[in-house]
Each structure stands twice: as C-alpha cells, then as structure tokens.
Amino acid sequence: MRAGLVLRPVRFSLVFALSCVGACACLALTLPRPASAFGDAGAFDPRVLLTGNQTGPAHESAPGRWAWELMQRTSAPARLHASVVRADDPAVVLSPFLYWSGDAEVAPLTGAEIAGLRRFFALGGVMLVDDAGAGERGDESPFGRGARREIARVLPDATPVALGAEHVVFRTFYLLRRAEGRVQGPASLDAIVRGGQAQVIFSEHDLGGALARGASGTWERPVVPGGDLQRERAIRLAVNIAMYVLCSNYKDDQVHAPFLMRRRALYTP
C-alpha cells in the first residue's frame, strides 16, 4: 500500500463557498498588481531581415518557434510574432538583432541596404546568417555564399573566424559541444568579431529548419542525421544564440568559470 494523502469528500455550504470566493478576492486586492508588461519592446525579437526580392524567412514559422522555445526554457521575454524589417528601412536600427535566412542566391545589396546594415552594426547589433540551403555535410548553398559576399561589402574590414566550443555562445545557457541545426554541418560557427563581440554569426546548419514547426504541431523538416536528439541540440543552440544577444559575454565572467569547468567535466552528451 502506498502512503499518500487521502482526500475526503467535503460538504460545502453555499455560505462557505461564497466566503471562500470573497476571501480570495480580498486577498487578491491586498496584493500589488504585477507590472505585467511594459509591452514587449525590450524582449528578444528574432527580427527577420529581408534584402533584395526576399519576401520572408526561409522557414516562416522558425522565428516564432525560436521565441517560443526561448520563453519556455528561460526567463528571457521574447516576441512570439517576430517583426520583419528590410535592410534599407530606417527601422533596421530599432532593435539589436537581425535574423537573415534563405536558401537561394542573394541579390547584391543596394547602397541603401548597405548603409542601413552599417548603421545597425555601428550601434552594436548582432546578426545571425542562417543558411537554410546548407547540405547535410554543411556545404554552403548559394544563399550562404551570397550572404558572406554581401556581408563582406557591408563590413569590408572584417573577416569571419571560427567560433569553437570554447566560445561563450556555446555556454550562454546550455553547455554545448558543437553547432548543429537541421543538418549537422561543421562543428563550429563562423563569426565576424568586432570590438570583442561576435556581430555576424554564420550558421551552415539551417538552424531555422530544425525550429520550424507547422500549425498542426509537427516539425516541418526532418533533422539529419541525428533526428530528435539533434533537433533538441539545435534548439539549444538557438536558445544560446538568443541569450548571447541579450547577455553578451555574461558567461565569460570569472565568477562562472569554476562552475562551468566542473560541469564540462561531468557532462558527456
């Protein structure tokens, strides 16, 4: 026999029930009302960047799902309905993050688009370039190659470098060993680092493909070769990237070092 709490039927009178309701109402009134929301202006917004003839992200549902996963898993607020902005729109400087994805060739950026992105980067904004057309081995698609080419025009003085597992982006929330998305791709991410901050992160893993989920609740794209485990790790990477945007190099602080070194030693994925 299992020990446990035994619930006995209780006979409620109407007066007692009304008293309970009244007491609860009074109790609620005695508490200060929470400051639920100053809007979501300061929340993480996986803003979709459009250039040239682009009309949307490679995976329509990916930004919203990214925000949802972030809110479910962390304390960070996020916009479930990500905004969309064109590179030549003055609004490109209204938030510190841009998500640029695609699987087709990128049209050369216009002068206005380059100027807009330069203003965004000058303010310290961060961009994720997600190659939705990446091959299973992480081969760049025309979008990946084109995006790198155009970013080089925006930031001509910077060259992408590889971010290995030691980079803070792999431990901003989850401890990750490598980068993964819909495809496994290369273990590292590439990034243009300016002022100590990875300002443009290149993913050749189709991160959005792993996040995309249809209205029916089913994942839109299969994840290869690792299946659901790899999808989970891809979601974790997306969460980490969002946390990197919001917390910068917070997990590089010395106070975290001994804890994270111990965990790394214990954690075997």
């Binding site: 929470p34 303010l123 431990r171």
Partner: protein
C-alpha cells in the same frame, strides 16, 4: 632736533682734495725742518715764519667756512616678528602662562629697552607678516612660517630694517627642525640684516601627543593604505607603551574602528605603522588617537582628525538583473566597455517554471549566491544595480536591511525599472524603500506599472543637473519613447526628480518622477522607473547620435553615485582650514550660472562624531559668480559633513574636520635651539623672554637738515695773507743763510 655749528673747508672742495692739501702742508713743513739743519742761525725765526706761511697757504686753498645745521637722531628700524601661530596658545612647562602671554611680555620689555630704535611690531604665521593684533584671546594661525615672513619683508618696497627680532617658541614650520646652518643663513641672506631671536619657552610641558600622521601615497577605496603615526611623550611624562587607534567618522553611526596598535616609546618618541582600508571614495575623516596618559597637560592633541581624499582606482559594481532583456544587454555592454569598472554580474536566466529539457549538468547556470553576495561581500562593492529584479523569489528580502545599511554607510544603489522592479518587486514598505529617492505605494491594490508608451520630460533640475549634462550634450532635449513605466510615488525629502512622466501624477497631484536621485546617509541612490533606456542606442534617436546617449546617461548616473567631481553641482572646501572656536568659511565653487539659474545656496552642516545640533546657512549667489564663500559659526573640534544644495538641484557633500590645535599643537615642545642657531648664523643675538630687554639693537643714525655755509673771510684775503707770510718767511731764510 638740535642746532650745531662747526668749521670746515669751502663747500666746493671735496674731502679728498682737502685731505690732500693738508697732507702737502704737513710735508712742506716737515721738509722745512729737515732743511733747517743747514742753517747758520735764526732757527726759531725760520721755523715760526715757515709754519705761518704753510698755514696761510693751506688756508688759501681750503678757504675755511662756518657750517651751521639743524640735526636729528633717528632710531634704527627694527622689525619685531612675533609668532602668532596656534602653538603660542599652549601653556608653559609649569602649565601656568600661555606662550602668547610670555611673547607679549617679551615684546613689551623690548619696546621699553629700545628707546633709540624704531620698533615695527608684526605677527608671522602664514604668508607675509601682518600687523600684530592687540593682545587678547586670539586663536592663532595654523602655521608658523617664519621663512615666508622674512621673504615678504625682503621683497617689500618699504624701508629695509636694520635688524629683525623674532619672538617665538621656536616650533616653526619654516625653517624646519632639522634645518642646517646653510639653510638658516639663507633666510638671513634675503634681508642681509642680523636676525635676533627671543625664545618664549625653555622647557616642554608634560604632554603625550600624536605628533604626525603620514600616509604612503594617495588613499584609494578598497586598497589598504599604510599610515605612519608618530607619537611623542615629553615633559617628564612616563609612557612606555601607548595604544593607538584609527577610526573612521561616519554619518550613519558611531565611528568605526579601522585598526589599532601599540606604539613603544623610546627617548620620548615612537613611530607606529598601521594599515587602514577606506571603502568609500570622497573626503573621509579618520581619527587617529592615543590612549590618555596620566599627567598629560594637553589632552587636546591626543587625537588628530585627518581628512583623506579617497580616490577610486576602479569602480566595483554588482549588477543583478531579474531577466535578460534588451535593457539588461545595453547596460551590461556599457559596464563591460568601461575599463575602470569591475563588474560582478548575476542575471536570472531561468525561473522554476521554465522547462529547460536538460539535466543540471547540461546547463551553464550557477546558483545565485544571494547569501554570499548580500551578507559577506556587500561592503566591497561601490554600487549595486538592481535591474528588473524581484527580491522575493531569490531570498533577497532578508538582506534588504543589509542593503539599507550599505547605502547609509556610503554605498550606491540604482534600481532600474521593469516588470519586477519597485512596487512589483515587493520593495514597498521594506528597508530598501527607506533609501530610495522616491516613495513606493505598498497599499492594497496599488498599481505597479503604467504600460502606456510615453516620452519622459526633463524637470528643471534635470535640465540643469551636471550628471545629465553629458546626455543633454548628445541628445539635447529629445528623449526616446518608453514602452511604459513603473509607478512611483512622490520624491522623498532630499530627493530630486530629473525626468518626469508627461501625464501621470502621484497621489499628491504632482507629476510622477521617472528618474530621481537622492542621498541617504553616506550613500546615494537612483530610481529609474523605465526599462527602455536601451532605446538611446537602438532607435532613430540612437541612430542619429551613434548610440552615444545610453553611455552618456550611465556615465552621469554612475559617476554621480561615485561622487565624481565632474557630476557634482559644486565643489566645496574650507578656506584656510578649520580651527575649533574660530568661524570657518566654506568656499563653494560653482559652474557658470545661466541667466535663469537658481541663486540660492543652502548649506547644512552636521556633526559626524557625535550628536550635535545641525547648522543651517543660506546664501545668495550673484549672477556671474562662480565662487561663493559661506561663513559658518564657530565650531567645536570634531568631524563635520556639509551638504550643499543650489536651488532645487541635487545636493553635494563635503566632509571636513575642525581641530583644537591641529599641526600647531601636535608637537608641544618649544625649540629655543633653532632660534639660537638662526641668530648665530645671521649675526644676531639670542635671549630668552626674561632677558628680552637686554637684547642689543642697532645704533641710531644722525640726520642733518637746513645746512648753512658762511666763509670766514673772502678768498682774496687768504691769498694775500699767504703771499705776505711767504715773503716774510723768504726774508728770514735769506738772513739765516738758507737759499
């Protein structure tokens, strides 16, 4: 004035010519005497006529005249430099007379004895000498700088004195105790007159004192500072081991002991090395005191109040954020971008309701060390930033009292808005609310946030506040639209609103503050009721200003918290130091006033080391004045803090100490040997006060006036007489057988 008459040569002859003529006359007569050895007879006749002829010839050259004049005797100008420093208020060894009284008696004796000298009585202390005040209960100056007084005399266009007489106890700042003869002689060389000295005191009183406190280098917050304490014990006092304590005077409570040690006295003196650590920047008063020694006749110098101007090498900030947002990101990036700021950050990245789908070991999360931070390490931080942080879930509530104490002891606190801040964070009615610059409404049903977007307005104080000047330089009057605000109450007494809500009002009917600052005890606090300052970076305004507005805002806020002089409304200082019993003057240096700037200055002075009635002084500022001296009533010895408010703006604080004797009483021993050496090397004389009347002084000078020269006879008569007598002498020679 006397009349005098005498004979002299004609006025057109110089003394040299007259002397030459006299010499030639004597030589001529001498040669005549030699020549007389060849005479045959009549020696007396030759000599007599020769003498008359030479005299007549000399008279023809000199043409004697009667000189009459009115003459006077002028006494030598002697400058008496009497020591007016505060050490002259010390008693003599017997504990009866004060040195000042002995000095006055010595001066009186000197005046009585020097009838033929013109005595000019001056006092020396700090800078050029000044006319000695009438004998009375003068408090005395904080320095005894004889060197400055002598140099000022030498540079004076007035008549150079024939001698200088110094009347002092010999305990001088300049020349110092270990001055060599060369250095002492150099003092006299400036004037090139003998310097005599009268010593007022022979023996040291029975006294144990803190003679000197010196620090090795500048005081830096949180950094141990070596301090050397020199203890003296003289006048027959028996002290072998003397307890020395160092305590910091604080406004929020009794003095806090920093360290203590025992000084081992040998040959009447001891040096003790202590190490103190001051946690807060700004002017800080440290009391260095020795235990009272039985028989000590001057207990006032048993403690020194030392003002340390504590600088900051780096600012240590504790940044706690309730959740990661764009506002947290912006502040984090600004803090990390400033190399002078050391930040310890804790962000709440996960709440208990979050589904992380991972084991603990797969997460890069560490426990929030709330106990360690807010119990153990709190004093080591210069400022705490609580950003969108709810105290309750993380057990911070029990440490809010610690934070209140931390602020009152000089810490800085910023509460930044968000859905977990202020009323929503459960801070209303807590000890932390007592130190915020705004009131929080903790009543049932209180609204914690207004979610309607708005653009904050500058208050008049905000528009002129130095701490927001950098932001205004970047954005002017423009501010970005905020997505909402935490609901705050009125500004508490002493607080100042810098931004306000354009429409929302408090219960009192005033406009709701959005950004407010305040002082609480030793510390300062900032309430920022929005979480949208990141839009100073990422917005159209941010794009126009290259995002510099956010950094400019936080430069000012954190700089003001840390009392950075750039962000203070004024700079304060005590003119000439503060001596107990003498009304001090506080000099207020202000930035250039605008046309419509407030003119009123309010200064509140309160005692640090013990309860005492505060002093409240108001003054007015002239339109173009950048410096105002505010007089205070005489204060007792102790530590004080002065708070200044200009108009309705923020206050600034300045700590200062008033001492009974200060440096002048620290070493009560007289030093007649130094005075004796000074007199010796400059050619002067030395005497103790009892023998002041016997001090030798320069002789007076005779001065002639209304001089009249009258010839005794016309020049031709002298020439004719000389010719006749020479002729007679020639005849006498011929008759005596001389050629």
């Amino acid at each position: 004035m006397d009349h005098a008459t005498r004979l002299g040569p004609s006025g057109d002859l110089s003394p040299a010519v007259a002397a030459l003529a006299c010499g030639l006359a004597l030589a001529s007569f001498g040669m005549l005497l030699v020549e007389m050895r060849r005479r045959e007879r009549g020696g007396a006749l030759i000599a007599g006529t020769g003498l008359f002829a030479v005299v007549a010839l000399l008279a023809a050259v000199l043409r004697p005249a009667r000189i009459s004049a009115r003459e006077s005797v002028v006494g030598a100008r002697v400058v008496v430099l009497a020591d007016t420093s505060r050490s002259m208020a010390l008693p003599d060894a017997a504990g009866r007379d004060r040195r000042r009284d002995v000095r006055d008696e010595a001066v009186a004796k000197l005046q009585a004895a020097a009838r033929d000298a013109r005595l000019v009585l001056l006092g020396f202390g700090e800078g050029p000498p000044t006319p000695l005040p009438e004998p009375g209960p003068a408090a005395g100056g904080q320095r005894s700088d004889l060197g400055a007084a002598l140099r000022a005399l030498a540079a004076s266009p007035e008549e150079r004195p024939a001698a200088v007489v110094v009347v002092s106890d010999g305990r001088l700042d300049d020349p110092p105790e270990d001055a060599s003869d060369v250095n002492l002689r150099a003092l006299g060389d400036a004037l090139r007159v003998p310097i005599s000295a009268i010593a007022t005191t022979r023996e040291a009183p029975a006294d144990a004192s803190v003679r000197r406190v010196s620090a090795a280098g500048a005081a830096v917050a949180h950094v141990p500072l070596p301090v050397r304490v020199e203890v003296g014990c003289d006048g027959g006092l028996q002290c072998d081991e003397v307890l020395v304590t160092a305590r910091e005077l604080r406004e929020d409570g009794p003095p806090m002991e920093l360290t203590r040690g025992v000084a081992h006295v040998r040959d009447g003196k001891a040096a003790l090395d202590l190490t103190i650590t001051l946690e807060r920047a700004g002017s800080r008063i440290v009391e260095i005191a020795i235990a009272h020694q039985p028989g000590d006749k001057i207990p006032e110098n048993d403690r020194r109040l030392v003002t340390f101007d504590v600088a900051r090498e780096r600012v240590r900030v504790l940044h706690v954020a309730g959740r990661p947002t764009n506002d947290v990101r912006a502040l984090r990036r600004w803090i990390k971008g400033d190399a002078s700021v050391d930040v310890v950050a804790f962000f709440i990245l996960r709440t208990p309701s979050d589904e992380v789908h991972a084991t603990q070991n797969e997460l890069a999360l560490i426990p929030f060390p709330v106990d360690e931070l807010f119990q153990e390490h709190l004093p080591s931080f210069d400022a705490i930033v609580l950003q969108d942080f709810d105290a309750q879930p993380y057990g911070l509530e029990k440490y809010l009292e610690n934070i209140r104490r931390y602020v009152r002891r000089g810490g800085g606190l910023v509460m930044v808005g968000g859905e977990n801040s202020f009323v929503a964070g459960g801070y209303a009615g807590t000890p932390l609310a007592d130190v915020l610059p705004v009131e929080l409404d903790g009543k049932p049903g209180a609204t914690s946030a207004d979610t309607s977007p708005f653009v904050p307005e500058w208050t008049p104080a905000g528009a002129t506040s130095p701490l927001l000047a950098p932001l205004r330089d970047v954005v002017g009057d423009e501010l970005p639209q905020m997505p909402g605000a935490n609901v705050l109450g009125d500004v508490r007494p002493g607080g100042v609103a810098l931004w306000r809500h354009p429409t929302r009002t408090t219960r009192s009917g005033g406009r709701m503050p959005v950004l407010a600052i305040g002082e609480e005890g030793d510390g300062r606090t900032v309430a920022l009721a929005v979480d949208g300052t990141w839009e100073l970076e990422f917005s159209e305004l941010g794009a126009h200003t290259a995002g510099r507005g956010h950094g400019a805002l936080w430069d000012g806020l954190l700089g003001w918290l840390m009392r950075d002089p750039r962000f203070e409304p004024a700079q304060l200082g005590v003119v000439g130091g503060c001596t107990a019993g003498q009304p001090p003057r506080i000099r207020v240096r202000l930035p250039q006033a605008g046309a419509d700037e407030a003119r009123s200055i309010v200064l509140d002075v309160s005692r640090l080391d013990k309860p005492a009635p505060p002093v409240h002084v108001e003054a007015a500022r002239k339109a173009d004045a950048t410096s105002v001296d505010v007089g205070l009533p005489a204060l007792e010895a102790g530590g004080y803090t002065a708070r200044l408010r200009v108009g309705e703006g923020a206050t600034t604080r300045y700590d200062f100490a008033c001492e009974e004797g200060g440096d002048e009483w620290a070493d009560s021993r007289p030093d007649p040997a130094r005075l004796r050496a000074l007199a010796r090397v400059t050619g002067g004389a030395f005497a103790f006060a009892a023998d002041a009347g016997s001090l030798p002084l320069p002789k007076p000078t005779r001065v002639s006036a209304e001089r009249h020269v009258t010839p005794l006879a016309p020049p031709w008569s002298w020439t004719a007489a000389a010719a006749v007598l020479l002729g007679v002498h020639w005849i006498a020679r011929r008759r005596s057988g001389l050629a």
